[in-house]
C-alpha cells in the first residue's frame, strides 16, 4: 500500500509539472506565426499571462521586431493597440528580469512616441536592474525636471516611469533627478511618488544632497536636508550634512523676508539634527554660536544652546561659558528682560548637560549673583551639582 501511494504521489508530481509547458510552447509558436497587429497582440497576451520566464526570449524578440516595424503601425487605428502590445511585452520582460532585453527596452524609450510605452519600458529597465542605463535614465528625468513639456501629460507619464525605474535601480546617480522631481512642476501624484522613492534609491545620499544644499535655493536646501536626516545614511554623514546646512544658512544673504524665514528653517532643521544625533566636536560650534547670536527667533537661539549642550566638548562648553558670562555681566549691570532670563536658564541647563568643568566658574558666578531670580540661581546650583 505504501508503495502504491508513493507511486500515486509521484505521478501527481509528474502530471502537475508536465501539464503546463506545452502551453508556453504552443503560444510561442502562435506568436511566431502571427500575422498583423491584432494577432500579435493576442499571441503576446497569451504568452505574457502564462507568467513563465521561459518565454522571455521570444518576448524580447517580439519587442525588437515591433520597434523595428513601428512605421507599419502608424495609422491611428493601430497606434493604441501597438502601444498596448508593447506595454504588456515590456512589463513582462521587467517582471522576468530578462536583462538581455535591456537594449530593446531602451530603444522603446527613445523611439516610440507613446509616453505610456516609454514609461513601461523605463519601469522594466528598473525592475531588471539594468544598471548600464542608470545614467541615461537619470539624465532623461533631469531634462524633464527642468520645465513642463509642451504636453505636460506626456512629461508626467514619462517622468513617473523614470522615477519608478530609478527607485528600482538603486543607483546614487538617480537620487538628484528624483529629488528634483519631488519638488518639480509635476502633479501631486508624481511628486509624491518621487518623494516616497527617494529613501529607497540609496541608503546614503549624502553626496548628492550636499550638492543640492550647496547649489539650490533655500527651500530646496531645507527639503534636501530633511531627506538626508530621514535617510539611512550613517549618523556622522548626517551630522556633516547638518553642519554644512547650518553654516550655509548663515553665510547666504536672504533676498527678502520669506527667504530669511526659509533660511532660519534650514538652520533650525540642522540644529535639531545636531541635537538628535548628539553631534560632538569643534565643527558644529561656530554655527551654533552664530545661531545664538544672530538667530531669526528665540526658537533658533534655544536650539543653538541645546546643540551646544549635547555637544559637551571643550569648544562647545567654552561657547556656553561665554554666553552665560555675557548674560551674567549684563544682569549685573542691570540689563534684563524676559528673553534674557529665558536664554540664561536654557544656557545654564545646557551647560549642566555638558558635564564639562569649563563651565563651573561661570555657573558659580551666576549662583553668587543675587540679582538673578531665584529660579536662575537654583538652576545654576543644580547645574553645579551635575558637573563632577
Amino acid at each position: 500500500m505504501k508503495r502504491l501511494v508513493s507511486l500515486l504521489a509521484l505521478f501527481v508530481l509528474g502530471a502537475t509539472l508536465a501539464l503546463a509547458d506545452e502551453t508556453a510552447e504552443v503560444y510561442r509558436r502562435l506568436y511566431l506565426e502571427a500575422q498583423g497587429l491584432s494577432q500579435k497582440y493576442a499571441a503576446a497576451l497569451n504568452l505574457v499571462q502564462l507568467q513563465d520566464p521561459s518565454v522571455a526570449p521570444i518576448l524580447s524578440d517580439a519587442l525588437t521586431e515591433l520597434i523595428n516595424t513601428q512605421k507599419d503601425y502608424s495609422r491611428p487605428s493601430d497606434q493604441e493597440l501597438y502601444g498596448r502590445t508593447l506595454r504588456i511585452v515590456a512589463q513582462a520582460l521587467g517582471d522576468y528580469k530578462y536583462i538581455d532585453a535591456a537594449p530593446s527596452l531602451w530603444d522603446a524609450v527613445q523611439q516610440v512616441p507613446d509616453p505610456l510605452v516609454k514609461a513601461e519600458a523605463l519601469i522594466a529597465l528598473g525592475k531588471m536592474r539594468a544598471l548600464d542605463y542608470a545614467e541615461r535614465i537619470s539624465l532623461l528625468l533631469r531634462d524633464l525636471d527642468f520645465k513642463p513639456t509642451d504636453d505636460p501629460d506626456f512629461g508626467e507619464k514619462v517622468a513617473y516611469g523614470a522615477i519608478l525605474s530609478l527607485e528600482k535601480l538603486k543607483d546614487v546617480r538617480g537620487f538628484s533627478p528624483v529629488f528634483f522631481a519631488s519638488v518639480g512642476w509635476y502633479s501631486q501624484r508624481v511628486r509624491q511618488q518621487a518623494a516616497s522613492a527617494l529613501p529607497n534609491i540609496v541608503d546614503d545620499p549624502t553626496d548628492p544632497i550636499a550638492q543640492i544644499i550647496r547649489n539650490e535655493p533655500a527651500d530646496r536646501k531645507v527639503l534636501a536636508l530633511n531627506a538626508e536626516i530621514n535617510s539611512k545614511a550613517p549618523d556622522d554623514h548626517k551630522i556633516q550634512t547638518a553642519i554644512l546646512a547650518l553654516n550655509l544658512g548663515h553665510e547666504k544673504v536672504p533676498a527678502d523676508k520669506i527667504d530669511a524665514r526659509t533660511f532660519s528653517e534650514l538652520r533650525k532643521s540642522a540644529l535639531r539634527a545636531l541635537i538628535t544625533l548628539r553631534a560632538q566636536g569643534d565643527a558644529p560650534v561656530p554655527g551654533c554660536q552664530n545661531s545664538y547670536a544672530k538667530g531669526y527667533d528665540d526658537e533658533e537661539r534655544l536650539l543653538a544652546l541645546a546643540a551646544l549642550g549635547v555637544n559637551g566638548t571643550d569648544p562647545a562648553a567654552g561657547a556656553l561659558r561665554d554666553i552665560i558670562l555675557q548674560l551674567n555681566t549684563d544682569q549685573q549691570s542691570g540689563v534684563t528682560d524676559d528673553t534674557r532670563n529665558r536664554m540664561a536658564r536654557a544656557a545654564i541647563e545646557n551647560a549642566a548637560q555638558t558635564k564639562n568643568k569649563l563651565v563651573r566658574p561661570v555657573l558659580m558666578s551666576v549662583a553668587a549673583n543675587d540679582k538673578w531670580s531665584g529660579n536662575i540661581i537654583l538652576a545654576a546650583q543644580n547645574a553645579l551639582k551635575a558637573i563632577p
Binding site: M1, A9, L10, G14, T16, L19, A24, L30, S38, Q51
Partner: protein, 296 residues
Amino acid sequence: MRRCRVPLFALVAALSLLASCASSGPTAASSAPKVRKERTVVVKVPVLVKESSYYSDGMLDGSIVYKYDSTNKYLIEKDTFDTSRADPMEREVSEWKSGLLADDVVYDQDGKLKLRHDYGYDASGRLISDKVSDSKGQPASSSTYAYDSAGNKSEWRAFDGAGVLKAITSYSYGPPTASGAAPLVLVTLKDAAGLSTGTIRLSYDSVGRLLRRDYLAADGSTQKSEVYIYASAAGSPVALETHRADGSLAAKTAYANGELGQVLKATDTDGSGSVRGFKQYEYVVREDAVTQVYYE
C-alpha cells in the same frame, strides 16, 4: 488555460495529502480474505499565502499575496505588490461556482481591467473551455479541451480572438501505472491544418517521477530539454535544468523543500551559474479530514 493557478500550492497540497495517507496507511495484510474498510484521517495541507521575489543580492523585488475563502481551499484573490507601494500593482480576483473556478479577472493598479478568463466545464466538472478577453473586453483568444474515455485530456484547441482555429495539441499517455493513472508521455503540437509543428516527449524514472521533457521540432531535432534532478529515490525534485539544443545549460532553478514537501525557496541561476534571483514561499497549514480506504 493559464499556466498554473497556484502551481506550488497545487503540487505540494497533492503531495502532502498522499504522503500523509502513506504515512498512516496499513501494512501488508496476511493471506486471510481482505475486507474493505474506511477511516478518517487528518492530513496537513500547506497553503501558499505569500511569494516573495528577490534580486540576486537579496534585495526584495516584490511579493504576491494569496487570499482564500474561509476554508483556505479556494483562492479568491491574488495581489501583486511592488516594494515601494502599499497598494497592489495588480489584483487577480477569482470567482468559484459549485467548487469550480468560473472566472479570473485581472485588474491593474488603477483598478482597470487588464484581462479576463471565463471557464466552462462539462457535466463531470472537467474544464472544456477557456475564453480570454483583453482590457477592452474584446475576445483575445480561447481554448477548448477534450478528454478520452479514461478521463485524460486528449486535445487542446487554441483559437484566436475571432474564433479562428490556430493550433491543435494532442496528448498521448503511456500504460497505466500501479496507481491506475496513465502518465503523459507525448504532446504533439499541430497547426490549424493538423500538420505537426513539433512534439514534447516526457520520460519518467522507475518510480514514475518526471525526469525530462524534450522539445522537438517538426523534423525531430531537439530544440531544448528540461531535466529534473532528484536528491533521493523518492520525493520532490531539487532542481530543474533547462538545456539548449546543443545540450549546454541555459538555466537552472534549485528548490529547497519543507517538511510537508512544499517548496520554500526557488533559486534561479543562468547557464554560467550566476544567481539571477530567488523566491521564497510562505504557507499556512490547513488540516483536512480525509476518508481513507484500506483493506485488511
